[in-house]
């Protein structure tokens, strides 16, 4: 409470002193980091504010990702947008298509003469947020990817080697059978099914999710995720669901509790769930890369990221840009990044921070903590694994969720569901194209 009062007082003071006499330029940073993550965001801003006296970054929690984005768009329409806005990866195409509402990061850094080399950042992270020419449009902030968590105690009980997590999907199915035979009610479950089992699955097997380089090549992109590799995988999962080897318990983070409570033996979920699982699991667990199909050529490729980046919104006061550029340099510094990585489980965004974390022995201390980075950097990203840039992506994910659910409940075959998903999703893409042409 005290913090809030102080923040409000500071904010008030900032507003009052915004006259010409004041030298401090205030930068509003709207974000969606609640709880411990929110404290970390405040800490970063405070450190930056203490490091210099010209600019002041004020973080404001604006609700969940979709809420803060809606709020920022409303503010933009009213002519008063925040300087920095945290946007989830799904909103990327919407932000990009906004004519004149955003200031691309590469341009911001160049205009401010701030030292900036995109090569310093993890390629799998920057590729998701760059245009076709390789220019970085938004600043990577909290990025995660999908990993496989296993309950080592349950593996032992089922007569499996806890140090040999399944590497491939066929292996995972066999392990699931053993786990079930040992009396587990839920052998395998997954969170964020569209993101894990469809989007990143496609990248991991180097097959396209949508045409035009997964949408990077233009607004006339169309979905193609009903290819043989995806259909086969979803059908397998559907069959596993029927046999009781795969238990579906929700679209987002709902499965985490099932896994950390000891009900489920295996879980595919965001690497960002590490801290949460560590805090709640009363058993030994392991983290390993996502499984793949060994007979698919090129697999495993690299996984794609999730999480959010920081977008700069156009400002009337050009001085704000300079401050944001300075703040981004500060944010990318190795100390800040290592600390962020360690305390949150999100991947470090720069290669230097990754090296530093290695040097500090973080990954010996926490085995499997670097799985995410290894997956992301497994191979150089291809057009199929750079990321996704689809308009109306929030709705498309809803469509995929709905269609997958009809496979898990046995109402549709994988082929029927994915064909229908492509058809419905393409209608949304056509609509987005019309609205933005």
């Amino acid at each position: 409470m005290n913090k809030k009062i102080i923040a409000a007082a500071l904010l008030g003071a900032g507003l009052l002193s915004a006259g010409p006499a004041s030298a401090v330029t205030e930068i509003q940073w709207w974000h969606s980091m609640a709880g411990a993550l929110g404290d970390k965001v405040n800490e970063i801003a405070q450190k930056f504010n203490a490091s210099q006296s010209e600019y002041k970054v004020t973080p404001v929690y604006k609700g969940q990702y979709d809420e803060s984005m809606t709020a920022a768009i409303a503010a933009y329409r009213a002519g008063n947008p925040p300087g920095i806005l945290q946007v989830f990866e799904v909103g990327t195409a919407t932000m990009m298509a906004s004519h004149g509402a955003i200031m691309p990061v590469y341009k911001l850094m160049a205009d401010a003469h701030e030292k900036f080399n995109p090569k310093d950042y993890l390629p799998a992270v920057t590729s998701y947020f760059s245009d076709t020419k390789g220019h970085l449009l938004s600043m990577p902030f909290n990025s995660s990817t999908q990993v496989l968590y296993i309950n080592k105690d349950a593996f032992k009980k089922a007569g499996l080697d806890p140090n040999k997590p399944p590497k491939t999907w066929p292996e995972l199915e066999k392990d699931a059978e053993k786990l079930k035979a040992s009396g587990m009610s839920c052998a395998f479950t997954t969170g964020w099914q569209s993101w894990v089992q469809m989007e990143s699955f496609s990248a991991w097997h180097n097959v396209p999710f949508a045409t035009k380089q997964n949408g990077f090549g233009g607004l006339d992109t169309r979905l193609v995720f009903n290819g043989p590799v995806q259909v086969r995988h979803i059908q397998n999962l559907g069959n596993m669901a029927k046999k009781g080897l795969f238990t579906y318990v929700g679209r987002k983070d709902e499965p985490n509790g099932k896994f950390s409570g000891g009900d489920c033996g295996m879980l595919t979920q965001s690497s960002g769930a590490y801290a949460n699982i560590k805090a709640n699991a009363k058993f030994e667990f392991g983290v390993s890369p996502l499984p793949y199909y060994p007979d698919v050529k090129g697999a495993p490729q690299n996984t794609i990221i999730g999480g959010a980046t920081l977008w700069v919104m156009t400002q009337k006061n050009k001085e704000v840009y300079k401050g944001i550029a300075k703040f981004f340099t500060f944010l990318s510094s190795t100390d800040i990044q290592v600390d962020w990585h360690k305390s949150t489980g999100y991947v470090p965004i720069t290669l230097a921070a990754y090296e530093e974390a290695k040097k500090q022995g973080l990954y010996q201390e926490r085995p499997g903590f670097d799985t995410a980075i290894k997956e992301l950097t497994n191979k150089a990203p291809t057009p199929n694994s750079k990321g996704l840039r689809l308009g109306n992506f929030v709705q498309i994910r809803n469509v995929i969720d709905e269609e997958l659910e009809s496979v898990w409940s046995g109402q549709k075959t994988a082929k029927q569901a994915l064909d229908e998903g492509v058809k419905r999703g393409n209608e949304l893409l056509v609509r987005f194209q019309k609205a933005n042409q």
Binding site: E254, N256, N392, S409
Partner: protein
Amino acid sequence: MEKRAQFSSRWLPYVLVSPQIAVTLVFFFWPALQALYWSALLQDAFASKTQFVWFDNFEALFQDSIYLASFKVTALFSALVAAIGLAISLLLAVLADRVLRGARAYKALLVWPYAVAPAVAGVLWVFLLSPSIGVVAYMLRSIGVDWNYYVHSDQALLLVVVAAVWKQISYNFLFFLAGLQSIPASLVEAAAIDGAGPVRRFWTIVFPLLSPTTFFLLVVNVVYAFFDTFAIIDATTQGGPAQATQILVFKVYQDGVQALDLGGSAAQSVVLMLIVISLTVIQFRYVERKVQY
């Protein structure tokens, strides 16, 4: 007998109602007109490009099989919520009407759920029934019920209906109780003297006399199921699995707020507005006539 206030000046009554009119204009008519206008627009999220597309949004809407399916879900959901909600609260009201000792305590307890916000009600039911953390879900599984409303659409529908009914029972209860207490005791006593049993008395005297209340509550409950249950759905199933609980108002929210498709969302809200207008017309034409004050 009608009572009519007499005003000495012509304009005073208008001045007196003007604040209410102003509120209605600003908070009801203005947004409704905005929705009408927006439903004919196609716009990107940042409003940098706006096209006037006439009825394209509506056309797209009614070609969308999912939207049409959402109508069916909404109809089924509202029918269940209204029917079950009315039946249970009528039963409770009849029972509470007879209670002699501690009647106030019973009534207070029965009215309690009305004070709970719909979102909180949703969360309460999630804590009970969520397949991953729910207490009741755990017990159900231990007796062999495959409880998982993320997969089984009938269970999801059951969950939201139960949560929505639970929330609305108090309101219905209050009206039924008031209705019961306004039925003249002499009528019921006369029937008793003629030898009618309690069941017969209820169906031939009490229930018909309650019919205006019942009809009023029916309309109110349907409107409640259409709109106010949004928070319950948002907190529990989020419309899933596979649209099994995606009612119209939830789709408006998903498309408008989450997906920022304002034109499409506005078109849906215009359709909803038409439905409510027709419900209200029905209520006024048929209910008002029958009500005896």
